[in-house]
Amino acid sequence: MTTTENQTKPGEAEVAAAETSEGRQELQLRKDISTKEMMRGSGAVLRMSESEVASLAGVQSEDQTMIINMGPQHPSTHGVLRLMLELKGETVLRCKPVIGYLHTGMEKTGESLSFMQGATNVTRMDYASPLNNELVFAMTTEKLLGIDQDIPERAVWIRMLLSELNRISSHLLFLATNGMDIGAVSMMLYGLREREEVLRFFQKVTGLRMNHNFIRPGGVAADLPAGWRDEVLKLLESLPERLAEYEILMTGQPIWRERLQGVGVITRDEAIALSATGPILRSTGLSWDLRRDMPYLRYDKVEFDVIVGSFGDAFDRYSIRLNEIRESMKIVRQVLDAMPQGDYRIQDKKVTPPPRGRIDESMEALIHHFKIFTEGFKVPVGEAYVAIESPRGEIACYIASDGSSTPYRMHVRAPSFVNIQSMPPMMRGGLVADAVAVISSVDPVLGEVDR
């Protein structure tokens, strides 16, 4: 990576005297403003409601700024994200992300689904990495049940294999959409093509390309199918050469670098203050990855590097994700070597339904089966918070249980929801075209933002 001195943006001088309803908007140098001021006073965030903005229509004054809506129907807003951008010419002064267009009350729905059914709900939140959602839900339930240390080894390693493959597929989708947003349209085709190969493996294992409901409390739904190892090896063989292709297509390409380097810069203090996690936090040079720093599953048994950036710009976030694919492949290789034999789910009759064959022979098995699928299993009173590293950052599940078979309250800490807050400081003082690069580099999944 080359050094970019991009603390001062072009066009900063001409916007220095912008006047808004909140007074004079002096754009100071980034280094002169503390994060707190940045968020509260000097204004990267447009703190106006929609009706206030609408009431400004027709107001005429000199050095006027313009507020435009970008989205919710915009090809580069990754679904239905809407941004209210305050512009001076083509420079973004402030912006306000407006979300909620995909809100379907999934946390409320989760309260009426049993712990058995809950995975079908959470898997639809971050639809680009469904297996991580299921994993965190299952781990929280297991923690409440007190069985989190009793999950069979094979189930744990299967979970790791799927979680890492899911990271690969999610980052491939990022490369595809990022390419499309910046103008490298062929990258979209390549990224989706490779992602489809990973999804094809998921389909063999779980039966579905997405929304798998495969990782469930107690283990996984089924054992890996025959020939899974060859499938994974085939994936691992084909990917490195494709990644090398991406490097030629994008990383070394001057236009690509021009569009991303020094764009959407966020400092380490800002990222920490804004609770940003995942590639955004790592792009600022802070080496923080829950897989290494607070290991879950068996991540302490595998070796991998945590990729960090140096400048906190969109290019760093791009190359972090690209290289995380390589790290995930490293982990998958180690999982292949270490995959133990044994059960793929816990043999606790209260949590795990009996195998189909037993139902015909044993009355007890029939009762257990019936109980688990109608009423569900009961989870002791308590509350638990479990966090894991999803491709987008820290995804966590907080469940409060009242002792029944449905969660009393199920909350998912969605990384995209929190990461969206870092957009306004990233966009401030940049061009509208850079705003597109910023949205893309934050890589939000709106299903997870709105839940």
Binding site: G100, H103, A273, Y398, R413
Partner: protein, 155 residues
């Protein structure tokens, strides 16, 4: 209070509402740089919670509970604060000045539970439409359902 579950230790602390911001500031100085999560629970229909022995005299259980998860990147530690918020005075100080990242999370809690955060710069609805009535994640929020008719199915 510490709860143990299969070897994983959670550091959970009950904090009085009046001390909440003071505690947060103290914890931030202690090295908890990031507020990873802020959410709430409506304990309307599940009042039978037990308080740990050491706070049973000082804390009164209320309908709402604001749950704050802090993370220390330098010490690799988490702490969870549980703050009781009464239904009659559903408001609490905003953590925005200490942790600007709670901005969206507090808005979400306001939107979903109707708990006000004093000192929040922009306490408006975030997920529901601006003119929405009611707070969906409250336990007394009316849940509707639409009967589904399967046309043409053999009965």
């Amino acid at each position: 209070m510490k709860t143990f579950s299969g070897g994983v230790v959670d550091d959970v602390r009950f904090v009085a509402k009046a001390d909440y911001l003071k505690q947060l500031a103290a914890l931030r100085d202690e090295g908890f740089e990031m507020c990873v999560d802020l959410t709430a629970v409506d304990y309307l229909t599940h009042p039978g919670r037990a308080l740990p022995a050491e706070v049973v005299d000082s804390i009164v259980l209320e309908r709402f509970e604001v749950v704050v998860n802090l993370l220390s990147l330098s010490q690799r530690r988490r702490v969870r604060l549980r703050v009781q918020v009464a239904e009659s005075d559903a408001s609490i100080g905003s953590a925005f000045d200490l942790y600007p990242g709670t901005e969206a999370m507090e808005r979400e809690v306001f939107d979903m539970f109707g708990i006000r955060f004093d000192g929040h710069p922009d306490l408006t609805r975030i997920l529901m439409p601006e003119d929405w009535q009611g707070h969906p994640l409250r336990k007394d929020y009316a849940q509707g359902s639409i009967p589904v008719q399967f046309k043409g199915a053999a009965s």
